[in-house]
Symmetry: C2
Subunit: 571 residues, 2 copies
């Protein structure tokens, strides 16, 4: 058999494995060495492929697809630095437990370490950032080796979805000539089905938990990446126990569309001034670490029984106060609890949180609603979301403002962020991956100028696939978060040089660069109006703000809440 046929069969067997493992989306970057993988995958009827020129953006685009589909997504690139560009997205996928199947083409063994072009050591290239690394054998014409390639494909794809989920890496050495025979059918291999189980507790344990939690003053704290299918169950449990739920915006509970009295949205503000005064007997945390610093500081100060529920079992307890680790699927745990007798705590407990929420809300509504501040932009963004929309929130200030202000909404919509490693790289590309899910859906990205600048090349995908993303760019000419941190005390020149780091980039030109509709916003009402219109195409909405002014406004708001709390509670 010719080299072309055996290589084609071998790669097709691998692809059959990826498909049987669950791959339905792939992001391919152009290159020569990866030719057989790209062509054969691109031609699969089962797989939707996207082509992204910049591998760094491609990695994050795949991450977005994986987030929104909750499925393994394949990444394909050529050899050399192309593969190195995936490391940021792979690191984020590893920390946020998303299944990526990374396929890097490589020179065959005889061309390695010999000065052959575009060749570097790709073995274990991503080190500890992937769950598994496989160096594939060279293609061979034998039934056994086709089966081997198939097995590597299906096994790696499955492993990426086994808990804890995460990225896997297959390095594929390929010999020239690289063009496959794209008319060959896939070779026949012995196919494998996979059923992936979840972690479940015994009835004895959940009995004991329902006893331990009954008649106690407890709180539920829910961080990012909470299992969406468990939200209703958690609210049911919280209502039975009379416990408040302090839910991060990325837990998607505040925007689940169920206005339960137990959801307390303004903890990020009141917990700044009410730490010792709120002392639960029991704390139960779900999801990843919450964004809110006051919440995390409060958790670290508590001495009650602290249960951490993790389906991925990662022991993410930065508070060091955890007393019990519960390695369990959330749906399973909460369903079991609902079948037990859960006894509520005294009414006053939940009332305390409701009073505090009311107090914060009153201070919020006193703010000037006509001034186009960063928090007002955030508010208009969530107020104008409609049913089933998607919102991606960038790191640094956008997620923090959203955490502070987001109320419990009537409208149900989804909020996403990159909270694995919290980078400001690849944000736009991740949001575009979400938008690719469904062109009828309204997808928004709330982002600052530094993060938007960092992933300028990512916008090529918005243009190429006309992805209907609305980018709300809050341009305060640099890194706004540093005005909220201790670095602000530095001499101005040092602060501006090293931290504020204005890029001076004009984003109107960025929009034009990609033929994307652009609007500059000058009033709250204009922002309302523009966001109330849906768009089926990508568009850029830029709002210019002042870093220092906004930092001051946030401080003033906190000061007002502090006074109100001192007046009503701490006197």
């Amino acid at each position: 058999m010719s080299h072309q046929s055996s290589m084609t069969n071998y790669i097709n067997a691998l692809i059959q494995g990826l498909i049987d493992g669950g791959v339905r989306q792939a992001v391919i970057s152009p290159g020569s060495r990866s030719t057989p993988v790209s062509i054969l995958l691109h031609q699969c009827p089962e797989v939707t492929t996207y082509i992204d020129v910049d591998e760094r953006s491609a990695g994050f685009f795949a991450l977005g697809l994986s987030k929104v589909y909750q499925e393994p997504v394949a990444l394909v690139c050529t050899s050399g630095t192309a593969a190195a560009n995936y490391l940021p997205a792979i690191s984020e996928a590893n920390q946020s437990n998303l299944p990526l199947v990374v396929l890097t083409a490589d020179r065959p063994h005889e061309l390695r370490d010999s000065g052959a072009p575009q060749t570097m050591n790709q073995l274990n290239l991503y080190g500890a950032q992937v769950k598994q690394f496989v160096e594939l054998a060279l293609a061979e014409d034998s039934k056994e080796m086709y089966q081997y390639a198939y097995t590597q494909g299906v096994k790696s794809t499955t492993l990426s979805q086994v808990l804890p989920m995460g990225p896997v890496h297959l390095n594929i050495p390929l010999r020239e000539p690289l063009l496959p025979d794209n008319l060959l059918p896939r070779p026949i291999v012995k196919q494998v089905n996979t059923f992936i189980g979840k972690t479940e507790l015994s009835s004895e344990i959940t009995n004991s938990l329902s006893d331990e939690w009954s008649n106690k003053k407890g709180v539920f704290v829910v961080g990012p990446s909470f299992n969406q299918e468990a939200i209703n169950l958690l609210i049911d449990v919280s209502e039975k126990l009379g416990w408040p739920i302090l839910a991060d915006p990325l837990a998607n509970i505040r925007t689940f569309g169920r206005k339960s009295e137990t959801i307390s949205p303004y903890y990020d503000t009141y917990l700044r001034y009410m730490k010792k005064e709120i002392t639960p007997d029991v704390i139960v945390r779900f999801g990843k670490s919450p964004v809110s610093k006051p919440l995390n500081q409060w958790l670290s100060s508590l001495t009650g029984a602290y249960y951490l529920v993790e389906s991925q079992t990662e022991w993410l307890d930065s508070s060091k106060m955890m007393t019990t680790l519960i390695a369990s699927d959330e749906v399973s745990l909460l369903s079991q609890l609902l079948s037990k007798e859960l006894l509520a705590t005294e009414d006053n407990w939940l009332k305390l949180f409701k009073t505090l929420d009311k107090l914060v809300l009153e201070t919020m509504t006193k703010q000037d609603e006509t001034f186009l501040s960063e928090v007002m932009i955030t508010q208009v963004v969530y107020q104008t979301m409609t049913e089933n929309d998607q919102l991606f929130v960038s790191n640094s200030m956008p997620i923090r403002d959203l955490d502070t202000y987001l109320p419990v909404m009537d409208t149900r919509f989804s909020i996403y962020g990159n909270r694995g490693v919290n980078g400001i790289d690849g944000v736009t590309s991740t949001a575009l991956g979400l938008a690719a899910r469904n062109k009828e859906m309204n997808t928004r990205l709330l982002i600052g100028d530094l993060a938007c600048f960092h992933d300028t090349t990512g916008l090529a995908m918005a243009k190429k696939y006309q992805l209907p993303v609305t980018i709300i760019l809050v341009n305060n000419d640099g890194g706004g978060i540093f005005s909220m941190l201790s670095q602000k005390e530095l001499p101005k020149d040092l602060f501006d040089d090293l931290f504020a780091t204005s890029t001076g980039v004009t984003f109107e030109h960025v929009a034009h660069m990609y033929d994307i509709e652009y609007v500059s916003i000058h009033s709250v009402s204009q922002l309302h109006e523009v966001l109330s219109k849906k768009s089926t195409k990508p568009r850029f909405i830029e709002v210019f703000t002042n870093r220092e002014e906004n930092a001051d406004m946030r401080r003033q708001f906190q000061e007002q809440v502090k006074k109100a709390i001192e007046r009503d509670f701490l006197c």
Copy 2:
């Protein structure tokens, strides 16, 4: 002593080590965790610092500085994906033996693997792509630990320069509060001097080499990254032996300003048709692997004695035909040879190469010099270079066209490229690193649209530091090289989707985005005129070309040379 003071002393001791090891340039990306390193390094009078928001670009900018200064350059970033963005530039530095000292800030040990924000496993983050990884201890207030930090700094920086040179990585765990006391003087440590030796051969060996090479038909093949101080010596030796020098453009021999008869520039063309007809007894190769595929194919077909001279001793012999590895400094080897009796081979040997060069040149001069083709752009670029200018050539087609056409020049100027892993990422940033060396110098970048697109964010440094780089952007709307490879045989839609991958980006907007002067070129004479004017600011010169048309023109030129060679030599 306060945490602030001991952290400041500890980091200052580390920085003293970097300086004593030879660091004079640093590229810093903004971030919070890296605050003490950034501030203290930024304030060092001995070190020039550059601030680059995008860490991927920052890595390549540092690579450019390291290339042009031949010195270790420090990179500083915060924790998380920021650090992951360095991998492409580190991979290139590793393959091209450039000393980078990578300093990544990290959370302290107690916050790792706990869900603390922006935290991932940074130990051995760059795996095999760095020469050395050091996890620094946490700062402590003790003379011993200051000495330890100093030693790690000076040792790592020194190791990056010991042969084979390459990048090193120091991971620095830092506890809050992060603001250093920038008034503290550096602590007193025991300082170390380092003298780094070179690899030298014994006189017996060089005696034997001069015997082996005398009276033989030999060729010198010189690849990229050749030691510039050895050029004159190599030309002297070649003239004594009567051997041709086949020198890659990146060996900087064709542009050394010494028009020796031994330098044969057009091998990339004539070796396509004259392989078996040119059979040297001795081949001596210096530098990294040459770009020219015909040259490499010819080397693989030869059966003569094949000497590979490597100062970095990497055994880069993709031809598999090497018979002798010479691990030696080039200057030392060539100086020793010049002191021996070197006997020239017969005159006809060099004459053969000169006749072939003449034949190729005649065909070149027959081409239409008014048509704005990609090769004509390349020609105008080198024809208008002036003494001591710098030219950075992108990978893919620009370096190949330059290799084919570049004659032996009267003018001396330097040519650089990223030929370690040959990526099309980070090209602009590397060129900007060169331009930062000297603002009086004329620095040019010859680049295609895909590579230019890939590093769009890199241009922020051109704006910020007003680096006088002239970017000659050859825009053929996609990956031109694939029209020269076997992929061109694919059906048009598949070819366009997966390989040509037009981004459709308008670079005029990219230029405006950064306030960079922009000119679009429509004729050869206009290009001549624009390039003949020097610029002290960054500028963008865009030339639109047609991919297919240019691929055809290259093929036609080769066809004409082939006919001429068949007529004169192979009949």
